[in-house]
Each structure stands twice: as C-alpha cells, then as structure tokens.
Amino acid sequence: MHKQALIQYLLLLGDSALVQGQRLCEWCGKAPALEEELALMNVGLDLVGQARNWLDYAAELQGDGHDADALAFRRDERAYRNLLLVEQPNGDYAVTMLKQFFYDAWHHAMLDGLSASGDERIAGIAAKALKEVTYHLRRSGEWVQRLGGGTEESRRRMLEAIPVLWRFTVELTVASDSEVQLAQAGIAADPTQVAQRWHAAVEAIFASVELPLPKAASHFYLDGRKGLHTEHLGLLLAEMQFLPRAYPDATW
C-alpha cells in the first residue's frame, strides 16, 4: 500500500545524496587547499555510499530487475527526486559550503528521525549514515562561521551566497502528502520535526556570526520531489551518466 510512496521517499534520500556527492567531486583537483580537497572527497564518498544503500533498497522494492547502478545511471532528469538545492552549481567556496551546510542540517535531522523508523532496513541505513553526517554537519557549520565571521571579503562572499541558495531551502521544510502519510505510519521522519530542527540549526550558526537570516522561503515553482528540476541537473547527469550510457555494461 505504501510501496510507491516508499520508493519515492527512498529516491528523495538516495538521489539527494548522490547529486550532492557528484557536485563535491567537481572540486577534485581544484580545491583551495590539500586538506579541503581531502575533506570534500571524503564527504562525497560517504554520500555516494549512502546513496547506494538507499537506491539498493528502492531497486529491490521496484523489483523490475533494475539495480542501484541502473537507477543512478539510466534515469533521466525528470525521474530524479533530489532536492533542488543540491543540484545548484558549486559557485565559490562560500556557496559550496553554505549549500553543504543547508543540506547537512536537513540530512542530519532526517537521519535522526529515520534511525527510529519502523522499517528496519531504513533504520539501519540511517543509523549508519547519521554517524557520518554528524561530522559533515560540524564541518560545514564551522565553515559558514569561519567565512561569515572572517575577513571583509569572506563575509561579503558569504552574504552574497545566502540569496543565491535561500529560495531552494523551501524544500527542506516542507513534505509531500505521501511523506506525511509515511511519517504517520512510523516509516518516514516527522516533517514538522525536521523543519524545526533545520531552522534551529541554521538560526544558531547564523546568529553566532551575525549573518542576517532571511524570511522563510516561499513556495517555489519547481519541485525536485516531482522531478521538476532547474536546468543544472540535466548538465550534471550528462557528465555523470555519459560513460555508462555510451558504453552500456562496460567493465574495467
């Protein structure tokens, strides 16, 4: 009964982690410092691993013979269910780290709720991922503080990054009807709690370095949960999916 809703929810979790991980990989070879390069790639690797766990489960529920790789590499943009936030371009380091922080704060709250899911498979994947994301959130929050409270230029850049990303945060504090039903059934994370915890985390970090908190983002005309994406996702997938699509079933 919940099966289709559950698959969509797993895709929201898996696709968001995968796309965020793919974006982080774009920094490979050009991060501002060696330590940052290592950190970005490690966070990306965690996320791709988590994405595989979610997509494995989604593929099993679909039961049509497709596996996690097929879901990642052979779906078109309209079939992706990731948050609009994570598909946005990396921009400068302020945009990259603020995007990471907004995502991490949502991700952490979601995983915390999901660790207590009535679906044991979900609870297991979430409990494992939560440990990893605790480190992601700590790091990205510290970067928002460092840039926001740093030099004149770093603060200017952080202030400029906020309006670039803020409108996409509406998706982090809302939920579809089917998600609400899944939450009532004890399977999905409680969307109200996720929204509250996301706001609290963002408010605390912003207040600590006196970054102005914009008014709550209003409804946006696109919706990642429905597969209605910004133009950036198509370009990201074109790069990520090129090889498996050009050379199906290639091995090395």
Partner: protein, 174 residues
Amino acid sequence: MRPGELIAGDRGARALRDGDLAQAWAVLAEVMDPEVPVVSVIDLGIVRDLDWRAGHLHLVVTPTYSGCPATEVIEGDIRQALEQAGFAEPALERRLTPAWSTDWISDQGRERLRAYGIAPPAGSASLRGASPTVCCPQCASSDTELLSQFGSTACKALYRCRACLEPFDYFKCL
C-alpha cells in the same frame, strides 16, 4: 535448475570438523585492512559472526563507512584467504545493523594503530562530533591540534602535535 548446477554451485561442501572455526578465526586475524595494513579485520571488529551453514563457512561482515571503497577489497581478501586455507566457497553476508563503531576496535588493534603512527580513537563512540583530547602517536604529548576533520581516508582526521611538531592521522570516533 539443470542437472549438475547444484554440484557446480556447491563445490567443496562438507561437514564441520573440530577446529574449523578456530582455524578460520586464525586465518581472519591475518587478513589486513588494505588502507591500514597493520590492523586485521578482527582487530577492526568488522567480522561480526562466523558459523557453518549448509556445508560452508558463513561470515557476517559489517562495513566501516557507508562509502568505504575498501569494503569490496576487504571482502575479496577475506574470501581469498579462507579459500587458500581450504575453506571452499565461504559465504559472506554484509550487514549494516548494528552500525559499525570504533568501540569495536580491539585493544591490540588500537596498539597497532598507535605503533603505525595513527592515533587510535580517543574514548567511546559517544564522543563522535566532539573534540576529544588526542595524544600524539610519536611523542605521546596531549598538546595537539586539529588541522582538518577529514584526513587521508574517511575514517581519519588530520592533527598536528605542538610538542614535536609532527602532523599525524587520528582514527576518529564513529
């Protein structure tokens, strides 16, 4: 299923003998982590269970990190070591729950990490995300500072010792 398939897919099935499981544990104690080659899969605590099912060894292995690229390598190394020791077609089951914790690293594993120059996890996994006191694996000074939350692999952070000035990896609590 065609005739012969069962036999082909069940090569070497036999009854459990005395000493088999002890021998298997001993073999596993020599299978090293590919990225930290001084600690074994037993030291890391990732082999959660070992028994005999339907004529073969059956292992439960828990990955360290969701995205650890060494997971497949470790599983392949385990399989190869057991087969070389005479255990035909051991079955490996990957289990996520309960999630692996650095609390499962043995005392021997911690000592081996330290001797290798990697500071072992300071205290329990409940310190995850906190800032524990980390001692330098070279000179044992506790006067150290965090350089980066993420080191050469996901499981490590990068620290520097203010006493001897050496940078070092720290195996962080998870």
